[in-house]
Symmetry: C2
Subunit: 548 residues, 2 copies
């Protein structure tokens, strides 16, 4: 006779075992290891909340301090591999299998551990894709999450970094899982309820506030004239031309330069209120001048950004905030917005090949792509037209009944022909393919596939891949903006000029842009201090960005 | 000087105005019209919760009873146009513009009103796409939602039909919107908190419980042998062949037949635990025999289904349920799961053309596609391999570096060559194109585009479009399973036989299926009563499905 409530009873037993270390739901940090050893079972799927920003670091330390004789063979299913502890648990035998999305700082160590067989890799997902699997075949047995505060019943306030928490908790709590939250403080009443108490089983009072990385802060002082030139081309040659109102910016100096040029160069072009009004974006400090100049109608955020809290509180008409005044971010919804409600994604990459495939994975690093492949794809499930999307669709249309025409999402790669240390961004073959072979990945870690990319912007010009009619034209269009890289020097000059005549390759002069105008004086803010001024003193940059 | 909190203050003023009709947050049904007239402003974007299942019907009646001199020019942004009141408000001048996803029963009336200019149409979205826009450019000013109960603080229990509610509330409450919930009862303590009180501004005690449509109930008694034959082909020719474990079934008798054949025909083929283990699916009553036979590991649901509550409560190891025991559904997450975590979508349609484009829209009805275009597309943002997905990718691979191969989602159309009233399902040109022209739609209402479809299953056989290498092969493969329709009779017999030799067209006999075996005795349940038996008496079908 089938026991139809086996998992449910097992959950109840785990909670009962954990309660021995708690007062009600509350557990002191010093007993976090006891709690985890009581609650976890070998082979459990565990989500240790860690994404590209906030970290359940107290629980990460506790997990890595568990006795591998008791807690072992865990299957970690989490957005980010960011802290050393996230990989320590694999070396210690506590964890065995890994499904994740992003690993900035730990990319090289993951590659080594994969190669050495210390990690059994499931897959490197996009965020939204991993969230999707939480509800299907990667549902966590235990979720270890982070919030700012909780009351004694377990009502949780995440603060502005809500991020993945509601999604992780929903998948776990409603499928017989156990949810353990670390908080900076236990309070009588939380400022707002981000997660209701009946989804939280334990609250660990952390020994120190959870760590948040200021990942989306770019110092305007470090912006180059090349980046400014590329930003001008993107604004005039793409944003203005397609009338892009709903968009997402990937991380980087290039996109930050665009943000800083809106109130200056964009204003001069008469584009205010016509482009860049609705955003799916983290609260980039470099967006402050555009907001203050009245460019931005609203911004929905994946997460928050260190130092932006007071500014966001003062701008509730722009950002999504709670009754308490602080940001309510939500990575799942913002990724969905980026996928289906934005007309443009623009980001950067380390390598692009002759077909337009790109990757940030190199031979020694498995970085993970976070949201880029999701934001940077043409979603076939989209059914609402917009002028931008339809214009792109018309450009791409080659054959078939025009009545069946659909639009295209704009996916733009903004990349200098030579990157850090003068490594060429354009290559014959992606290093990612070599890495895939070396560590035995079934699927090569391509960030954005060539058939999804619509434009490539370099300091040499813009290649419009939508207008290319075959693979040869595509290759020459890419070579035609690849500058002095080997790929660029391998161009067929006549072919590139023919593409230029058709507007497929466009140089700054074709766009009416004088490269000498690409000057730092065009930046609405030239330093972090300028950003603070723009914000009326509300933006509070982290110490490492202050030099005054 | 910019007022950066104008919208926030306007929200506070709306709430203050509404409070005049409330005791705390609680408003009697008799004052719902007063409340809405106090809170709404002309031109507001309003989400009146109504999807394919539950309806905020008390609030719909109240809205349609508002004085158009006070409440007018609303922009309705909601999943479903289902109740007459949803369109009455347009005739009355209360609403003007519409963005929606699905309209089963009102499809013909919408078409007439669009044609007559009584509705300004934004677009007909997928659910997930509309949700995405809630966070970008279609954020509601006011949300009118439905729950089972609330406490006096406003903590809301949605019951098993959680559906769209968390998404709608999140977009509205955190962006200076007002949230009004109708509930069947005010209680001292809700069974579980689906929406925390600080996101709910008003609670209207409805005059009667909100309506839920039993949309996903299919009576096995009405299943035909043709549907059984097609289900056998799908199981043996697709599910078994690709080893499909993670899937979504569209609505219809065809997919219900597959569900009922798993414990009989599927068992005989030795497929238990090998296919159809993880589901993104409403709680279909026809899935009960497969669940009871141990086929199903877990099911995440978009919404609930009338009569399934007690059964779901008794099966918490299969369904996502709360600590209170009832289902927690979530349309946004389940649509995401269908998009990114499922390897197969199988559904039906009214028309398919020679390129494989399909639509349920006819010349007189604008039905909306709900989730089908989202579930039924190949998501380019996917980055995790599975055996199923990679096998489909290998079949589709035509050119390029094999190291760059990616997988393909299986998108299957399950369709009888002649539908209701012997209308052919295969056509030269979709009626949707004619409709688009007639009412001036910018984008033709195509449900699934041909380039996303991988297989078409009819009673004549299976066409594998992945293996087709050009448009001609594709056309002949489609004609080759189109039976005695004009499209079918127009086939090039030699070409179809050549495709058959390559396994692109497969007949029942090619699959080792004897059409005479397609007998109703194969159905694990042959009636609603059988389903009740299978459930151990836990399933409680609605009265209209009971005939004993």
């Amino acid at each position: 006779m089938t026991d139809w409530q086996r998992d449910r009873k097992a959950r109840d037993a785990r909670i009962a075992a954990g309660r021995a270390h708690a007062e009600g739901k509350v557990v002191p940090a010093a007993r976090a290891v006891d709690l985890l050893e009581a609650v976890l079972r070998p082979g459990d799927r565990v989500c240790l909340e860690g994404d590209n920003q906030k970290q359940a670091d107290c629980l990460a330390r506790a997990l890595s301090a568990c006795d591998p004789a008791r807690v072992h063979d865990l299957h970690m299913v989490q957005s980010g591999i960011v802290l050393p502890e996230h990989l320590d648990v694999f070396e210690q035998g506590i964890a065995k299998r890994l499904d994740y999305s992003y690993s900035g700082p730990q990319g090289a160590r993951i590659a080594r551990m994969l190669y050495g067989g210390q990690i059994q890799l499931g897959a490197v997902h996009t965020y939204l894709e991993l969230f999707a699997r939480y509800f299907v075949d990667l549902t966590p047995n235990v979720a270890l999450i982070a919030g700012v505060s909780a009351d004694r019943e377990g009502n949780l306030y995440t603060g502005p970094n809500t991020e993945d928490t509601p999604t992780v908790v929903e998948a776990t709590a409603f499928k017989n899982g156990v949810v353990i939250a670390q908080v900076n403080a236990i309070v009588d009443r939380v400022p707002r309820v981000d997660i209701p108490a009946d989804r939280i089983d334990f609250v660990v009072e952390a020994d120190r506030p959870f760590y948040v990385e200021p990942l989306f802060t770019r110092d305007p002082a470090a912006m180059t004239e090349t980046q400014i030139l590329m930003a001008m081309m993107a604004i005039k040659g793409i944003y203005a031309e397609y009338g892009i109102r709903r968009l997402n910016h990937g991380i980087g100096f290039g996109t930050a330069a665009i943000e800083l040029l809106l109130p200056t160069y964009g204003e001069r072009l008469g584009l205010k209120k016509k482009i860049a009004t609705h955003w799916a974006l983290n609260p980039h400090p470099t967006l402050i001048p555009a907001i203050e100049s009245g460019w931005v109608e609203q911004v929905h955020c994946f997460g928050s950004e260190v130092g932006m809290d007071r500014y966001i509180r003062a701008r509730p008409d722009v950002f999504f905030t709670g009754a308490d005044g602080s940001l309510r971010s939500n990575r799942a919804f913002c990724q969905t917005a980026g996928l289906y409600a934005c007309d443009l994604f623009i980001g950067s990459t380390l390598q692009i090949d002759l077909a337009g495939h790109s990757s940030t994975v190199t031979t020694n690093r498995v970085a993970g792509f976070g949201g880029a492949p999701n934001m940077g794809c043409d979603p076939h499930g989209r059914r609402h037209p917009s002028d931008t999307w339809m214009k792109a669709g018309r450009e791409a249309l080659v054959t078939g009944d025009p009545a069946l025409m659909r639009g295209r999402k704009l996916v733009v790669q903004l990349v200098e022909t030579f990157g850090d240390k003068l490594v060429p961004a354009f290559v014959e073959r992606l290093d990612a393919l070599e890495l895939a072979k070396k560590i035995g990945l079934e699927l090569a870690p391509v960030m954005v596939y060539g058939d999804d990319v619509t434009h490539i912007v370099t300091e040499e010009g813009i290649a419009n891949l939508l207008l290319c009619r075959d693979a040869d034209e595509r290759e020459q269009a890419i070579r035609g903006v690849a500058g002095y890289t080997e790929v660029g020097r391998g161009r067929d000059r006549a072919a590139v000029e023919a593409l230029r005549a058709r507007g497929i390759v466009r140089r700054p002069e074709d766009l009416g842009i004088e490269p000498l105008d690409a000057d730092r004086s065009l930046l609405a803010a030239r330093s972090i201090k300028d950003l603070v001024h723009w914000s009326g003193g509300l933006y509070e940059p982290p110490a490492r960005f202050r030099n005054w």
